[in-house]
Amino acid sequence: MHEVGLMENALAIALDYATRERAISIHQIALRVGDLSGVEPDALRFAFDVVTQGTIAEQAQLIIETFPTLCYCNVCQIEFRPMELGYECPTCQTWSTSILQGKELELASLEVS
């Protein structure tokens, strides 16, 4: 979708934190990406290689932890993993609007020295 821009944001956040820690090199950047975040991990990896060139994160390893969509049914009061498009409760077939997990899109941690 707009992975280059998002990865530029991620790099800016990483460089900011690295500067605060007075680090001279970033070895690892760990992202948390939900299935509903609208971004493709492969496109993020491609963008990562492009945007880190010439920075202290050039040699960094990119770790992407993905999170499947998890919904909550208010009728059955259960959590469920939606199986296809739409968030239909497998028990009562009600459409859920309560999304517990899957929208994550964050920089979780860095390894620096």
Binding site: M1, H2, E3, V4, G5, L6, N9, A10, A12, I13, A14, Y17, A18, R20, E21, R22, A23, I24, H27, L31, L36, G38, A43, F46, A47, L85, G86, E88, W95, T97, L105, E106, L107, A108, S109, L110, E111, V112, S113
Partner: protein, 281 residues
Amino acid sequence: MCTDCGCNEIDSVVLHSATAIHHHAHNHHAHTHHAHTHDDHDQHASSTQTVEVHERLMSKNDRFALQNREIFQSHSLLVLNVLSSPGSGKTALIERMAKAHGHRAGQVGVIVGDLATENDAQRIRAAGATALQITTGTACHLEADMVAHAVAYLDLAKLDLLVIENVGNLVCPAAYDLGETLRVVLLSVTEGEDKPLKYPTAFQSADVVLLTKMDIAEAVGFDQATAIANIRRMAPQAKLFEVSARTGFGMDAWLIYLQSQWNRLHPIVTHEAPIPSEALS
């Protein structure tokens, strides 16, 4: 900015307007700096360490969206972020809404995003509204900081309603909060009944879905029941209205709903109601 769309020139955004009015009496750029002290400020850290961050990649946009929302709320301003594919009738809808505002059409503010040309803003101005065009160059969506910049050119205290017409695109704009009160997603009858299934993110994020161009639904063989079922499936949270900007069909219900949302922001109504009653008859 978007790998799919090939847009990467957010910095090339051009705003077509006159003098800026600065609403920003204070700065919300709450960058947190050193929460801890370093004993070795003159030396680089030598060993590898893990730094916990947990910051959203959209945090820059989120900060501007929050700032926009605070400014809008300080004016009790109802703000719509209108999303659709190109050609779904966003501009025609806004023209009709401005005209329905009667003698107060100038109090409808519109920020229009397009890659190029000022055509849409000119159309909306001709309908009586106060319109600003943002040309984004190659960027396929509006971001909250572009809206913050544009808003500085509007006298928000004089507006009854602010409509942000996003760039025609059902993918990328859905990911960017602009600080709006309501997100309005359009689906025109010419687009195919399965569009809500194909572009789930936009519909899932909608507060309102408008089925547009209803006057030609029959001519194009629009399967209304299937389209509504698909909208209900992907956007069970959204209010649904069927409208035609050309004939005015369904506009009353949509405008009454907007009036109800305006009333929620103005619990004690001391102003003239923003939508003249003659427009609803």
